[in-house]
């Protein structure tokens, strides 16, 4: 049975509001690492909310189509059951903080405490999450005095301590400097392999680092679902994510008549360096 099974979902936020998800079907198995990509207004965040069961019960009941988590519709889940099934980390870390904690450590133990876990188990989970998200040096800080990137790491840690079956991340590294981003992506890749990770993003780098499967959304519909190469070469990709600068430079030279016929345009820095090196040699 699929962990998440979405069938022909049509969704708008109200009767007179535009349709955000338009007949969307998607199935995600336990342990999959999936990136959901798309431009502004494509429906990524709304789909992420559906996958995480993060919409009001009335909205979910009024929708056409079906969304099942482990075979059961979200409105039938209790809040505690859902908290242990799927955790969602949104784009604005400030909105994820409980508001009940005066230190980073208190924020981390807030969720497991509400699950009624034993103190030893709570401590063990908090220690694990502190290391994964590189928060140990901030353990006594007030969460509201942290920088945006630090708050984002705390939000992810607070989701991980719940030991969910699936983690839904909505642009998780948008607040990060490259070093912090790469560290976090590395740590995410070390998480237990049975944890399902669903990443929604506008940036390709985190998606390519984490996901094995890529779903491209456009206008509330899935326009591609496959491997990295399929997505990178899809005609909508350049329009949504922008052309890589090295490719744009090669295109300008091609338009000026200085790019060899039959030579493809480079997508990555490494390929560009190799091609320009070779072409420079010929031109020089």
């Amino acid at each position: 049975m699929a962990l998440i099974a979405i069938e022909n979902l049509v969704f708008a936020y109200g009767p007179k509001m535009p349709v955000i998800l338009d007949g969307l079907s998607l199935s995600i198995e336990a342990g999959e690492r999936v990136a959901i990509l798309g431009g502004n207004g494509s429906g990524k965040t709304t789909l992420a909310h559906w996958i995480a069961g993060w919409l009001p019960r009335a909205a979910m009941n009024a929708t056409s189509g079906a969304v099942l988590a482990n075979g059961k519709a979200w409105p039938a889940w209790t809040a505690l059951e859902r908290a242990e099934a799927v955790q969602f980390v949104g784009q604005i870390p400030m909105q994820q903080l409980s508001g009940f904690a005066f230190t980073v450590y208190d924020e981390l133990v807030f969720g497991p405490g509400n699950l009624g876990l034993e103190p030893d188990e709570i401590r063990k989970r908090a220690d694990w999450a502190l290391d994964i998200c590189n928060l140990r040096h901030l353990v006594d800080r007030d969460p509201f005095t942290l920088s945006g990137g630090e708050q984002q790491r705390l939000s992810i840690a607070a989701a991980l301590v719940m030991h969910p079956k699936a983690l839904v991340l909505d642009e998780p590294t948008g607040n990060f400097d490259p070093e912090s981003r790469d560290n976090l992506l590395d740590q995410i890749n070390r998480l237990p392999s049975d944890l399902t990770i669903i990443l929604c993003d506008m940036a390709l780098k985190p998606a390519l680092a984490i996901a094995k499967r890529f779903v491209l959304l456009d206008g509330g519909r899935i326009v591609a679902d496959g491997g990295a190469q399929e997505i990178l070469s899809h005609p909508r990709t350049s329009a949504i994510f922008g052309m890589p600068a090295v490719m744009e430079a090669a295109l300008l030279l091609q338009q000026a008549g200085h790019w060899p016929a039959g030579e493809d345009l480079p997508l990555t820095f490494g390929r560009a360096q190799e091609q320009f090196g070779r072409i420079t040699h010929v031109a020089g």
Binding site: G39, G41, I92, T145, D177, S180, A245, V246, H258, A272
Partner: protein, 272 residues
């Protein structure tokens, strides 16, 4: 326009988050404020718009000392677009939100209407004018926040990660607006982690490391210096790295690169 003199800051009872920061900026400059997480960028942003006061040193914007000027008057000199538009949008329609600033300025009703209509058109929000800002998608919400600041026409703009979460089309619209504001003589400060965006737009890079100023230089010099980029934990844009790897002068955009490459090989754009 913008003068930061030996500014230090600490939160009550805490250690210095910023120490001895000095720089200045004039009309038509676009400053990129960069640095690793926790370097003090957001704190400096709150000092520049007067939400916090320096614990040492002084900041003046358009001749006003931020420590001695009420925040609502500082906002006449420097308009801030925060990272999350949800934190600064509070009216029930896009038009009311954009109109809020001009309503508090000495303008006639006709002047206000003209100004708001023009800003909505520039930010491509004319068709959304009657909608609730929070019913819009992420990019449109950001443009609502930007439009509400542009409508007050402050001499300086402060943009916190304005490109974040924007697709290529929206980024292109944003870049165009920033360049127009620069041409109109605004002093613009952008807090940014996206170095391609910095390379395309900034005239100067101000880098922070551990609360101190680690660089104040041109983007080409900054990105060509691996010590400076490493201290600020930023990655030089691919196009600049490629230009250096091929022995060209540091290029910030694909167009710069194509020109330098043709020049290097004594070719011209029309030669086949």
């Amino acid at each position: 326009m913008l003068q930061v003199e030996d500014v230090s800051f600490h939160y009550p009872g805490g250690v210095n988050v910023l120490s001895g920061i000095s720089f200045s900026a004039g009309a038509g400059e676009v400053l990129a404020l960069v640095g690793r997480n926790g370097a003090g960028k957001s704190t400096l942003l709150r000092l520049l718009n007067g939400l916090r006061k320096p614990t040492r040193g002084a900041i003046s914007i358009d001749g006003r000392n931020t420590a001695e000027t009420p925040v609502h008057l500082i906002s006449h000199s420097i308009g801030t677009v925060f990272q999350s538009p949800e934190q600064q949008v509070f009216n029930a329609t896009v038009r009311d939100e954009v109109m809020f600033g001009p309503k508090n300025l000495p303008l006639t009703a006709q002047e206000r209407d003209t100004r708001v209509a023009a800003v909505l058109a520039r930010t491509r929000l004319t068709d959304q004018a009657g909608q609730h800002p929070l019913d819009l998608d992420q990019a449109q919400r950001r443009f609502v926040a930007l439009a509400s600041v542009l409508a007050t026409q402050p001499p300086a703009l402060l943009l916190d990660e304005p490109q974040r979460g924007l697709d290529a089309q929206s980024r292109s619209l944003l870049e165009g607006i920033i360049l127009e504001e620069k041409a109109a003589g605004r002093c613009i400060v952008i807090v940014c982690h996206d170095m391609e965006f910095v390379a395309r737009l900034a005239t100067r890079v101000i880098a922070l490391a551990d609360g101190a100023l680690s660089a104040d230089t041109t983007p080409a010099d900054f990105f060509s210096n691996s010590r400076l980029t490493s201290e600020a934990s930023v990655e030089a844009p691919d196009i600049l790295r490629l230009s250096l790897a091929l022995g060209l002068s540091p290029c910030l955009t694909p167009a710069d690169f194509a020109g330098a490459w043709l020049n290097h090989h004594h070719l011209n754009a029309s030669q086949g």
